[in-house]
Amino acid sequence: MTPDQFITLEPAGVAFLLIVGFIGGLVSGFIGSGGAFVLTPGMMSLGVPGVVAVASNLCHKFPKALVGAWKRHKYGQVDIKLGLWMAATASLGMWWGAGIQQDIRSAYGEAGSNLYVSLAFVIVLTIVGLLVARDAARLASGRAVEGTSRLARWVQSIEIPGTMVYFRVARVRVSILFVLPLGFATGLLASTIAVGGFIGVPGMMYILGASSLVASATELVIAFVMGLGGTLKFALGGFVDIRLAMLILLGSLFGVQLGAIGTTFVRPHVIKVVMATVMLIVAISRALVVPVYLAQLGKMSLAEPTMTLLQRGSFAFMVLALVAGAFIIIGALLRGYRTARG
Protein backbone atom coordinates (compact mmCIF):
# COMPACT_ATOMS: atom_id res chain seq x y z
CA MET A 1 0.00 0.00 0.00
CA THR A 2 1.14 3.57 -0.53
CA PRO A 3 0.99 6.13 2.30
CA ASP A 4 -1.79 8.16 0.60
CA GLN A 5 -4.09 5.12 0.87
CA PHE A 6 -4.08 5.44 4.67
CA ILE A 7 -6.78 7.51 6.38
CA THR A 8 -6.46 11.06 7.66
CA LEU A 9 -6.94 11.03 11.42
CA GLU A 10 -9.88 13.07 12.75
CA PRO A 11 -10.32 13.97 16.47
CA ALA A 12 -13.42 11.76 16.81
CA GLY A 13 -11.56 8.78 15.35
CA VAL A 14 -8.59 9.40 17.65
CA ALA A 15 -10.89 9.60 20.70
CA PHE A 16 -12.59 6.34 19.64
CA LEU A 17 -9.23 4.52 19.36
CA LEU A 18 -8.05 5.83 22.74
CA ILE A 19 -11.24 4.84 24.57
CA VAL A 20 -11.65 1.41 22.97
CA GLY A 21 -7.91 0.88 23.39
CA PHE A 22 -8.20 1.56 27.13
CA ILE A 23 -11.22 -0.71 27.64
CA GLY A 24 -9.72 -3.46 25.46
CA GLY A 25 -6.48 -3.21 27.41
CA LEU A 26 -8.32 -3.40 30.73
CA VAL A 27 -10.13 -6.57 29.66
CA SER A 28 -6.98 -8.20 28.22
CA GLY A 29 -4.90 -7.35 31.27
CA PHE A 30 -7.53 -9.15 33.31
CA ILE A 31 -8.62 -12.15 31.20
CA GLY A 32 -5.66 -12.43 28.81
CA SER A 33 -7.40 -11.31 25.62
CA GLY A 34 -10.06 -9.00 24.30
CA GLY A 35 -10.49 -5.83 22.36
CA ALA A 36 -9.63 -7.04 18.86
CA PHE A 37 -13.22 -7.95 18.05
CA VAL A 38 -14.29 -4.31 18.56
CA LEU A 39 -11.11 -2.58 17.37
CA THR A 40 -10.91 -4.22 13.94
CA PRO A 41 -14.52 -3.50 12.83
CA GLY A 42 -14.30 -0.15 14.65
CA MET A 43 -11.29 0.92 12.59
CA MET A 44 -13.03 -0.27 9.44
CA SER A 45 -16.01 1.94 10.29
CA LEU A 46 -13.56 4.89 10.37
CA GLY A 47 -12.69 4.09 6.76
CA VAL A 48 -9.60 1.95 7.36
CA PRO A 49 -9.28 -0.90 4.81
CA GLY A 50 -9.85 -4.35 6.40
CA VAL A 51 -6.31 -5.62 5.96
CA VAL A 52 -4.83 -2.42 7.46
CA ALA A 53 -7.24 -2.68 10.42
CA VAL A 54 -6.18 -6.28 11.10
CA ALA A 55 -2.47 -5.41 10.70
CA SER A 56 -2.64 -2.32 12.91
CA ASN A 57 -4.59 -4.17 15.58
CA LEU A 58 -1.91 -6.89 15.66
CA CYS A 59 0.80 -4.24 15.90
CA HIS A 60 -0.75 -2.85 19.09
CA LYS A 61 -1.57 -6.31 20.45
CA PHE A 62 1.96 -7.65 20.90
CA PRO A 63 3.44 -4.68 22.82
CA LYS A 64 0.29 -4.58 24.97
CA ALA A 65 0.60 -8.31 25.67
CA LEU A 66 4.29 -7.81 26.47
CA VAL A 67 3.55 -5.14 29.08
CA GLY A 68 0.66 -7.18 30.53
CA ALA A 69 2.72 -10.37 30.65
CA TRP A 70 5.64 -8.57 32.32
CA LYS A 71 3.35 -7.03 34.94
CA ARG A 72 1.62 -10.31 35.74
CA HIS A 73 4.96 -12.15 35.72
CA LYS A 74 5.99 -9.84 38.57
CA TYR A 75 2.92 -11.08 40.47
CA GLY A 76 4.04 -14.70 39.90
CA GLN A 77 1.10 -15.54 37.63
CA VAL A 78 2.77 -16.26 34.25
CA ASP A 79 3.95 -19.73 33.25
CA ILE A 80 6.42 -18.71 30.55
CA LYS A 81 7.28 -22.30 29.61
CA LEU A 82 3.62 -23.22 29.10
CA GLY A 83 3.05 -20.00 27.12
CA LEU A 84 5.99 -20.63 24.81
CA TRP A 85 5.05 -24.29 24.17
CA MET A 86 1.48 -23.22 23.35
CA ALA A 87 2.71 -20.33 21.18
CA ALA A 88 4.92 -22.68 19.14
CA THR A 89 1.94 -24.59 17.74
CA ALA A 90 -0.38 -21.57 17.87
CA SER A 91 1.72 -20.06 15.08
CA LEU A 92 1.12 -23.21 13.00
CA GLY A 93 -2.60 -23.02 13.79
CA MET A 94 -2.71 -19.41 12.66
CA TRP A 95 -0.97 -20.27 9.40
CA TRP A 96 -3.36 -23.18 8.75
CA GLY A 97 -6.41 -21.08 9.68
CA ALA A 98 -5.35 -18.32 7.29
CA GLY A 99 -5.19 -20.94 4.52
CA ILE A 100 -8.74 -22.13 5.31
CA GLN A 101 -9.94 -18.53 5.24
CA GLN A 102 -8.33 -17.99 1.87
CA ASP A 103 -9.90 -21.17 0.42
CA ILE A 104 -13.36 -20.17 1.67
CA ARG A 105 -12.98 -16.65 0.31
CA SER A 106 -11.96 -17.88 -3.15
CA ALA A 107 -14.80 -20.46 -3.20
CA TYR A 108 -17.66 -18.43 -1.69
CA GLY A 109 -16.49 -14.79 -1.80
CA GLU A 110 -16.40 -12.20 0.98
CA ALA A 111 -19.91 -13.01 2.26
CA GLY A 112 -19.02 -16.72 2.52
CA SER A 113 -15.88 -15.87 4.47
CA ASN A 114 -17.83 -13.55 6.80
CA LEU A 115 -20.46 -16.25 7.34
CA TYR A 116 -17.76 -18.79 8.24
CA VAL A 117 -16.15 -16.38 10.73
CA SER A 118 -19.52 -15.50 12.31
CA LEU A 119 -20.58 -19.13 12.64
CA ALA A 120 -17.22 -19.97 14.22
CA PHE A 121 -17.77 -17.10 16.69
CA VAL A 122 -21.32 -18.23 17.55
CA ILE A 123 -20.60 -21.96 17.93
CA VAL A 124 -17.31 -21.71 19.83
CA LEU A 125 -18.27 -18.79 22.07
CA THR A 126 -21.70 -20.19 22.96
CA ILE A 127 -20.36 -23.61 23.95
CA VAL A 128 -17.23 -22.39 25.77
CA GLY A 129 -18.98 -19.30 27.19
CA LEU A 130 -21.77 -21.41 28.75
CA LEU A 131 -19.21 -23.83 30.19
CA VAL A 132 -17.25 -20.99 31.78
CA ALA A 133 -20.47 -19.28 32.97
CA ARG A 134 -21.67 -22.48 34.69
CA ASP A 135 -18.33 -22.87 36.44
CA ALA A 136 -18.26 -19.17 37.44
CA ALA A 137 -21.81 -19.44 38.86
CA ARG A 138 -20.84 -22.47 40.97
CA LEU A 139 -17.78 -20.69 42.35
CA ALA A 140 -19.65 -17.42 42.97
CA SER A 141 -22.39 -19.21 44.93
CA GLY A 142 -19.76 -20.64 47.26
CA ARG A 143 -20.82 -24.23 46.49
CA ALA A 144 -17.36 -25.02 45.16
CA VAL A 145 -13.77 -23.77 45.18
CA GLU A 146 -11.62 -23.42 42.11
CA GLY A 147 -10.09 -26.82 41.52
CA THR A 148 -9.01 -29.20 38.79
CA SER A 149 -11.73 -30.35 36.40
CA ARG A 150 -12.42 -34.06 35.89
CA LEU A 151 -11.06 -33.80 32.34
CA ALA A 152 -7.87 -32.11 33.54
CA ARG A 153 -7.38 -34.78 36.21
CA TRP A 154 -7.66 -37.43 33.49
CA VAL A 155 -5.22 -35.54 31.23
CA GLN A 156 -2.74 -35.20 34.11
CA SER A 157 -3.04 -38.92 34.87
CA ILE A 158 -1.96 -39.97 31.36
CA GLU A 159 1.74 -40.87 31.46
CA ILE A 160 3.40 -40.93 28.04
CA PRO A 161 7.12 -41.59 28.54
CA GLY A 162 9.42 -38.99 27.09
CA THR A 163 6.67 -36.39 26.69
CA MET A 164 5.90 -35.41 30.29
CA VAL A 165 6.62 -31.78 31.17
CA TYR A 166 6.23 -30.03 34.52
CA PHE A 167 4.96 -26.45 34.37
CA ARG A 168 6.16 -24.94 37.61
CA VAL A 169 3.99 -21.84 37.89
CA ALA A 170 0.85 -23.62 36.70
CA ARG A 171 1.75 -26.53 39.02
CA VAL A 172 0.76 -28.93 36.32
CA ARG A 173 2.54 -32.01 34.97
CA VAL A 174 1.13 -33.14 31.64
CA SER A 175 2.20 -34.74 28.40
CA ILE A 176 3.27 -32.16 25.84
CA LEU A 177 1.07 -34.08 23.40
CA PHE A 178 -1.94 -32.43 25.08
CA VAL A 179 -0.39 -28.96 25.17
CA LEU A 180 0.59 -28.75 21.50
CA PRO A 181 -2.88 -29.40 19.99
CA LEU A 182 -4.33 -26.87 22.42
CA GLY A 183 -1.85 -24.27 21.19
CA PHE A 184 -2.75 -25.20 17.61
CA ALA A 185 -6.48 -24.68 18.33
CA THR A 186 -5.70 -21.31 19.95
CA GLY A 187 -3.87 -20.17 16.81
CA LEU A 188 -6.57 -21.54 14.53
CA LEU A 189 -9.22 -19.59 16.41
CA ALA A 190 -7.03 -16.47 16.49
CA SER A 191 -6.74 -16.53 12.71
CA THR A 192 -10.51 -16.99 12.39
CA ILE A 193 -12.03 -14.65 14.98
CA ALA A 194 -8.93 -12.68 16.07
CA VAL A 195 -9.28 -13.74 19.72
CA GLY A 196 -7.48 -17.04 20.28
CA GLY A 197 -7.65 -16.55 24.03
CA PHE A 198 -11.30 -17.59 24.03
CA ILE A 199 -10.03 -21.14 23.41
CA GLY A 200 -6.55 -20.88 24.91
CA VAL A 201 -7.58 -19.72 28.40
CA PRO A 202 -10.50 -22.16 28.94
CA GLY A 203 -8.30 -24.89 27.42
CA MET A 204 -5.50 -24.26 29.91
CA MET A 205 -8.05 -24.22 32.76
CA TYR A 206 -10.31 -27.15 31.92
CA ILE A 207 -8.01 -29.43 29.86
CA LEU A 208 -4.60 -28.88 31.47
CA GLY A 209 -5.77 -27.90 34.96
CA ALA A 210 -4.16 -24.45 35.33
CA SER A 211 -5.91 -21.93 37.56
CA SER A 212 -7.84 -19.06 35.96
CA LEU A 213 -5.21 -16.63 37.26
CA VAL A 214 -2.30 -18.50 35.66
CA ALA A 215 -4.21 -19.36 32.45
CA SER A 216 -5.27 -15.76 31.78
CA ALA A 217 -1.77 -14.45 32.53
CA THR A 218 -0.06 -17.11 30.40
CA GLU A 219 -2.35 -16.28 27.49
CA LEU A 220 -0.57 -12.92 27.29
CA VAL A 221 2.68 -14.73 26.38
CA ILE A 222 0.87 -16.53 23.54
CA ALA A 223 -0.72 -13.25 22.40
CA PHE A 224 2.71 -11.60 22.36
CA VAL A 225 4.28 -14.30 20.17
CA MET A 226 1.32 -14.51 17.79
CA GLY A 227 0.96 -10.72 17.58
CA LEU A 228 4.67 -10.29 16.84
CA GLY A 229 4.61 -12.92 14.08
CA GLY A 230 1.38 -11.51 12.61
CA THR A 231 2.72 -7.95 12.62
CA LEU A 232 5.85 -9.02 10.75
CA LYS A 233 3.76 -10.89 8.18
CA PHE A 234 1.57 -7.84 7.49
CA ALA A 235 4.53 -5.40 7.65
CA LEU A 236 6.15 -7.37 4.81
CA GLY A 237 3.15 -6.29 2.70
CA GLY A 238 3.33 -2.67 3.97
CA PHE A 239 -0.10 -2.86 5.63
CA VAL A 240 0.65 -1.58 9.16
CA ASP A 241 -0.61 1.94 9.95
CA ILE A 242 1.77 2.65 12.82
CA ARG A 243 -0.20 5.80 13.81
CA LEU A 244 -3.38 3.78 14.42
CA ALA A 245 -1.48 1.04 16.25
CA MET A 246 0.33 3.46 18.58
CA LEU A 247 -2.85 5.46 19.28
CA ILE A 248 -4.62 2.28 20.40
CA LEU A 249 -1.53 1.39 22.44
CA LEU A 250 -1.65 4.82 24.12
CA GLY A 251 -4.96 3.94 25.78
CA SER A 252 -4.49 0.21 26.05
CA LEU A 253 -1.32 0.34 28.17
CA PHE A 254 -3.20 2.33 30.83
CA GLY A 255 -5.88 -0.38 30.68
CA VAL A 256 -3.64 -3.43 30.65
CA GLN A 257 -1.76 -2.20 33.74
CA LEU A 258 -5.01 -1.59 35.61
CA GLY A 259 -6.42 -4.96 34.52
CA ALA A 260 -3.28 -6.75 35.71
CA ILE A 261 -3.41 -4.94 39.08
CA GLY A 262 -7.09 -5.88 39.28
CA THR A 263 -6.28 -9.61 39.24
CA THR A 264 -4.56 -9.26 42.61
CA PHE A 265 -7.69 -7.81 44.24
CA VAL A 266 -10.41 -10.17 43.09
CA ARG A 267 -11.44 -13.73 43.80
CA PRO A 268 -10.51 -16.09 40.91
CA HIS A 269 -14.11 -16.68 39.83
CA VAL A 270 -14.38 -13.02 38.76
CA ILE A 271 -11.98 -13.75 35.87
CA LYS A 272 -14.39 -16.46 34.75
CA VAL A 273 -17.42 -14.17 35.17
CA VAL A 274 -15.82 -11.52 32.93
CA MET A 275 -14.73 -14.10 30.38
CA ALA A 276 -18.19 -15.72 30.17
CA THR A 277 -19.95 -12.35 29.96
CA VAL A 278 -17.75 -11.10 27.14
CA MET A 279 -17.92 -14.39 25.22
CA LEU A 280 -21.70 -14.76 25.41
CA ILE A 281 -22.45 -11.15 24.42
CA VAL A 282 -20.02 -11.41 21.50
CA ALA A 283 -21.76 -14.65 20.45
CA ILE A 284 -25.10 -12.77 20.35
CA SER A 285 -23.45 -9.99 18.34
CA ARG A 286 -22.17 -12.39 15.70
CA ALA A 287 -25.44 -14.36 15.62
CA LEU A 288 -27.24 -11.16 14.63
CA VAL A 289 -25.27 -10.82 11.38
CA VAL A 290 -25.58 -14.46 10.27
CA PRO A 291 -28.87 -13.72 8.39
CA VAL A 292 -27.15 -10.76 6.65
CA TYR A 293 -24.41 -12.99 5.21
CA LEU A 294 -26.95 -15.69 4.32
CA ALA A 295 -28.91 -13.04 2.39
CA GLN A 296 -25.74 -11.85 0.63
CA LEU A 297 -25.11 -15.44 -0.44
CA GLY A 298 -28.66 -15.65 -1.81
CA LYS A 299 -29.74 -18.30 0.72
CA MET A 300 -32.54 -16.12 2.14
CA SER A 301 -34.11 -12.75 1.43
CA LEU A 302 -33.77 -9.76 3.72
CA ALA A 303 -34.74 -6.10 3.16
CA GLU A 304 -31.87 -3.60 3.03
CA PRO A 305 -33.02 -1.61 6.13
CA THR A 306 -33.24 -4.86 8.13
CA MET A 307 -29.69 -5.76 7.11
CA THR A 308 -28.41 -2.33 8.16
CA LEU A 309 -30.27 -2.62 11.47
CA LEU A 310 -28.81 -6.07 12.17
CA GLN A 311 -25.28 -4.87 11.35
CA ARG A 312 -25.60 -1.85 13.62
CA GLY A 313 -27.11 -4.00 16.36
CA SER A 314 -24.23 -6.44 16.02
CA PHE A 315 -21.63 -3.69 16.46
CA ALA A 316 -23.55 -2.29 19.44
CA PHE A 317 -23.45 -5.73 21.12
CA MET A 318 -19.69 -5.95 20.46
CA VAL A 319 -19.18 -2.64 22.23
CA LEU A 320 -21.53 -3.77 25.01
CA ALA A 321 -19.41 -6.92 25.51
CA LEU A 322 -16.30 -4.86 26.18
CA VAL A 323 -18.06 -2.25 28.31
CA ALA A 324 -19.80 -4.93 30.42
CA GLY A 325 -16.47 -6.69 30.96
CA ALA A 326 -14.82 -3.41 31.96
CA PHE A 327 -17.64 -2.56 34.41
CA ILE A 328 -17.38 -5.93 36.14
CA ILE A 329 -13.58 -5.56 36.42
CA ILE A 330 -13.71 -2.01 37.80
CA GLY A 331 -16.54 -2.92 40.20
CA ALA A 332 -14.65 -5.99 41.47
CA LEU A 333 -11.43 -3.99 41.72
CA LEU A 334 -13.10 -1.27 43.81
CA ARG A 335 -14.73 -3.85 46.12
CA GLY A 336 -11.45 -5.73 46.50
CA TYR A 337 -9.56 -2.49 47.11
CA ARG A 338 -11.99 -1.42 49.85
CA THR A 339 -11.82 -4.84 51.49
CA ALA A 340 -8.01 -4.84 51.36
CA ARG A 341 -7.89 -1.42 53.02
CA GLY A 342 -10.31 -2.63 55.64
Binding site: L66, G76, G147, A170, R171, L232, M246, L249, I261, A340
Partner: protein, 83 residues
Protein backbone atom coordinates in the same frame (compact mmCIF):
# COMPACT_ATOMS: atom_id res chain seq x y z
CA UNK B 1 0.65 2.82 58.16
CA UNK B 2 3.89 4.25 56.71
CA UNK B 3 3.51 6.98 54.10
CA UNK B 4 3.80 5.53 50.61
CA UNK B 5 6.72 6.83 48.55
CA UNK B 6 5.36 7.92 45.19
CA UNK B 7 7.68 7.53 42.17
CA UNK B 8 7.35 11.06 40.85
CA UNK B 9 10.77 11.24 39.18
CA UNK B 10 10.45 7.98 37.19
CA UNK B 11 6.91 9.07 36.27
CA UNK B 12 8.16 12.38 34.86
CA UNK B 13 11.16 10.79 33.10
CA UNK B 14 9.06 8.07 31.43
CA UNK B 15 6.33 10.62 30.68
CA UNK B 16 8.84 12.80 28.82
CA UNK B 17 10.13 9.76 26.89
CA UNK B 18 6.58 8.69 25.98
CA UNK B 19 5.60 12.23 24.92
CA UNK B 20 8.74 12.44 22.77
CA UNK B 21 7.87 9.16 21.05
CA UNK B 22 4.32 10.26 20.27
CA UNK B 23 5.38 13.83 19.40
CA UNK B 24 7.95 12.62 16.86
CA UNK B 25 5.54 10.06 15.36
CA UNK B 26 2.84 12.63 14.67
CA UNK B 27 5.12 15.60 13.84
CA UNK B 28 6.71 13.52 11.08
CA UNK B 29 3.76 11.27 10.21
CA UNK B 30 4.17 11.80 6.46
CA UNK B 31 7.80 10.69 6.46
CA UNK B 32 7.07 7.93 8.99
CA UNK B 33 4.24 6.46 6.90
CA UNK B 34 6.36 6.61 3.75
CA UNK B 35 9.18 4.65 5.41
CA UNK B 36 7.00 2.26 7.46
CA UNK B 37 4.98 1.04 4.47
CA UNK B 38 8.04 0.14 2.39
CA UNK B 39 8.37 -3.58 1.83
CA UNK B 40 12.01 -3.76 0.75
CA UNK B 41 15.13 -4.43 2.82
CA UNK B 42 14.83 -4.07 6.58
CA UNK B 43 11.93 -1.57 6.41
CA UNK B 44 9.24 -4.12 7.49
CA UNK B 45 11.03 -4.34 10.85
CA UNK B 46 10.35 -0.64 11.56
CA UNK B 47 6.77 -1.13 12.91
CA UNK B 48 7.93 -3.97 15.18
CA UNK B 49 10.90 -2.05 16.60
CA UNK B 50 8.78 1.10 17.03
CA UNK B 51 6.06 -0.83 18.89
CA UNK B 52 8.69 -2.28 21.24
CA UNK B 53 10.24 1.15 21.93
CA UNK B 54 6.80 2.68 22.60
CA UNK B 55 5.88 -0.21 24.88
CA UNK B 56 9.02 0.40 26.94
CA UNK B 57 8.54 4.16 27.30
CA UNK B 58 4.76 4.29 27.55
CA UNK B 59 4.55 0.99 29.46
CA UNK B 60 6.84 2.43 32.15
CA UNK B 61 4.87 5.68 32.23
CA UNK B 62 1.48 3.97 32.63
CA UNK B 63 2.88 1.71 35.36
CA UNK B 64 4.16 4.68 37.37
CA UNK B 65 0.96 6.61 36.61
CA UNK B 66 -1.22 4.12 38.51
CA UNK B 67 1.39 3.80 41.25
CA UNK B 68 1.47 7.56 41.82
CA UNK B 69 -2.32 7.51 42.03
CA UNK B 70 -1.98 4.86 44.74
CA UNK B 71 -3.40 2.03 42.60
CA UNK B 72 -0.99 -0.82 43.34
CA UNK B 73 -1.24 -4.60 43.38
CA UNK B 74 -2.39 -5.89 46.76
CA UNK B 75 0.45 -8.37 47.23
CA UNK B 76 2.60 -10.34 44.83
CA UNK B 77 -0.21 -12.81 44.21
CA UNK B 78 0.64 -16.46 44.39
CA UNK B 79 -0.66 -18.78 41.67
CA UNK B 80 -3.84 -20.55 42.77
CA UNK B 81 -3.30 -23.90 44.36
CA UNK B 82 -5.28 -26.68 42.81
CA UNK B 83 -7.59 -28.79 44.97
Amino acid sequence: MPAMRRPWIPLIASGVASTLCYGLLFAYQGEVMAAFTRTDGWYPLLPVVTALVFSLAHGAFTGYFWEVLGVKARTPAKPQLEE
